[in-house]
C-alpha cells in the first residue's frame, strides 16, 4: 500500500467520489456499492499511486461493474438484468423540473456510450481528458458523446426552451 494513501485520505476520497462512483457503476450492475468498495480496496493494493486517482477509481469501478454484470448475466441468463439506475439521487429543490424517476428512465434509455460520459461528467465531475481515459476514447469523442447525450436527454425529459424570446425557433 502506498504510504500516501492514509485512512484519512481514503475517507476523503470516499466522501468526495463515493456517491458518484456508485451512480456510475449502477449503469451496469445492481450491486454498485460492492464494485466501488472493491475499487477502493484495489487502490490500497497499489504500490504506487495512480497519476489521477479519480479517473483510476472510475475506470476500476467501471471494469468491475461490467465484469459483475457479465457474471450476473451468466447466472440469470434469461432474466432481465437488474443493473438499472434506480432513483439514486437526492434533490434539494422542492419542485425540480423533472422527477428522479423520469431522470432515471431517461438516462436508462440512453445509449451506454452516451450515458457513461454524462454520468462521469455531470455527477462525477471529471474533465474530458479523464473521461476519455475512463472510457478508452479520445477527448473529442468523449466531448461529442457528451453533447449528443445531453441533447437526447433534453428531448426525452421534454425540457422547455431556455430562450424565452420570440426568436426561439421552438
Amino acid at each position: 500500500m502506498s504510504p500516501l494513501l492514509t485512512p484519512e485520505a481514503l475517507s476523503r476520497l470516499l466522501d468526495e467520489h463515493g456517491g458518484a462512483l456508485v451512480l456510475f457503476a449502477a449503469q451496469w450492475t445492481d450491486s454498485p456499492d460492492d464494485c466501488v468498495q472493491e475499487a477502493f480496496i484495489e487502490l490500497t493494493r497499489q504500490i504506487e499511486l495512480p497519476r489521477c486517482i479519480t479517473a483510476w477509481l472510475y475506470r476500476v469501478a467501471r471494469n468491475k461493474a461490467i465484469s459483475m454484470s457479465r457474471s450476473a448475466w451468466r447466472r440469470r441468463r434469461h432474466e432481465t438484468l437488474a443493473g438499472t439506475l434506480v432513483p439514486a439521487w437526492t434533490c434539494e429543490e422542492d419542485r425540480p423540473p423533472v422527477e428522479k424517476e423520469e431522470l432515471a428512465a431517461a438516462l436508462q434509455s440512453l445509449d451506454e456510450g452516451l450515458r457513461e460520459v454524462i454520468v462521469a461528467r455531470i455527477w462525477g465531475g471529471l474533465n474530458f481528458e479523464q473521461i476519455s481515459e475512463v472510457v478508452g476514447a479520445s477527448i473529442s469523442t468523449a466531448h461529442r458523446r457528451y453533447e449528443a447525450g445531453l441533447k437526447a436527454l433534453r428531448e426525452r425529459l421534454k425540457l422547455p426552451c431556455p430562450i424565452k424570446t420570440a426568436t426561439c425557433p421552438k
Binding site: L10, V22, V36, Q37, F40, W89, T90, I122, S138, K151
Partner: protein, 223 residues
C-alpha cells in the same frame, strides 16, 4: 457542477466513430447550459458503503500487501540484470575483436585447379643387345650356359614375363628361341631326336670355337 466549460476541448474535428450514436446537429449552448443546470440539481445519494467495514478491509489488505511491498521495492532495481548485460556485452565485443584479428591474420584459402602437362620418366625394360640379323636360311638357337656343379647362384627371371616384355617392346622377331626344359632333364638335353641330331651332326667341327660365348649358335643349312 454543471458549469464546467473551462476544460472543454478546443479541438473537436476528429471524425466520429463508425457506429457512434451521435445526433445530427450539436446542442445549442443555451440548451446545453440549461440541461446541465437541471441535471446538476440532483446529487447522487450517499453510498450505502459502510465506512468502518471498508477501512477494516483496507487495513487487512495493508497487512497483506506491506511485506510484498518491501520485497517489490527491493527487487525493483536488481543489480544482476545490468551486470549480466554488461558481461554479455563484453564477451560479445571480445569475440568480435578476435574474429576480426583472426580474419586479418590468415588470408582466405582459395583452391584453384589448373590443368598442366606432367612429364614423368618411365623406365622401360632394357632392350637385349641387338643380334646380328640372321640370314634367311639360318636359325639361331640359344642354349643357356651350363652351371658349374648344378647349383644356381641367383634366381632366374620368369622367361614368360621376359619374353612378353621383349615381344611388346621390340617385336616378336626379336624373341630368342629357347628349348623348353622338360622335367627331369638337364639344360642341354635335346627335346626330340631331330634336335639331338641337329646338335650333334653338322656343327661338330665348330664346337670348340663356340665354347667361349654364353650361347651356342649353329649355322643350319636349310633343306
Amino acid at each position: 457542477m454543471s458549469d464546467q466549460n473551462g476544460d472543454m476541448p478546443e479541438v473537436n474535428d476528429d471524425p466520429p466513430a463508425e457506429n457512434e450514436p451521435l445526433s445530427a446537429c450539436p446542442i445549442d449552448p443555451e440548451e446545453r447550459l440549461d440541461t446541465e443546470r437541471v441535471l446538476g440539481l440532483f446529487a447522487p445519494r450517499t453510498p450505502r458503503l459502510k465506512r468502518e467495514r471498508l477501512l477494516a478491509l483496507v487495513q487487512g489488505v495493508r497487512r497483506e500487501v506491506e511485506p510484498r511491498t518491501g520485497s517489490a521495492v527491493r527487487f525493483r532495481t536488481p543489480w544482476y540484470w545490468p551486470a549480466a548485460t554488461a558481461a554479455m556485452t563484453v564477451a560479445s565485443l571480445s569475440l568480435a575483436v578476435l574474429l576480426v584479428v583472426r580474419a586479418n591474420a590468415e588470408p582466405p584459402v582459395r583452391v584453384e585447379y589448373r590443368e598442366r602437362i606432367v612429364y614423368k620418366s618411365v623406365s622401360f625394360p632394357t632392350p637385349i643387345a641387338a643380334q646380328p640379323a640372321p640370314e634367311k636360311n639360318e636359325a639361331v638357337v640359344t642354349v643357356p650356359q651350363p652351371e658349374a656343379g648344378g647349383v644356381r647362384s641367383s634366381p632366374r627371371p620368369n622367361p614368360y614375363l621376359r619374353n612378353r616384355s621383349v615381344a611388346l617392346s621390340q617385336g616378336v622377331d626379336s624373341l630368342e628361341f629357347s628349348q623348353p626344359i622338360r622335367q627331369g632333364s638337364t639344360l642341354n638335353t635335346p627335346a626330340t631326336r631331330s634336335e639331338l641330331m641337329r646338335q650333334l651332326g653338322p656343327t661338330k667341327g665348330l664346337n670348340k670355337s663356340m665354347q667361349t660365348s654364353m650361347t651356342k649358335s649353329w649355322i643350319w643349312p636349310s633343306w
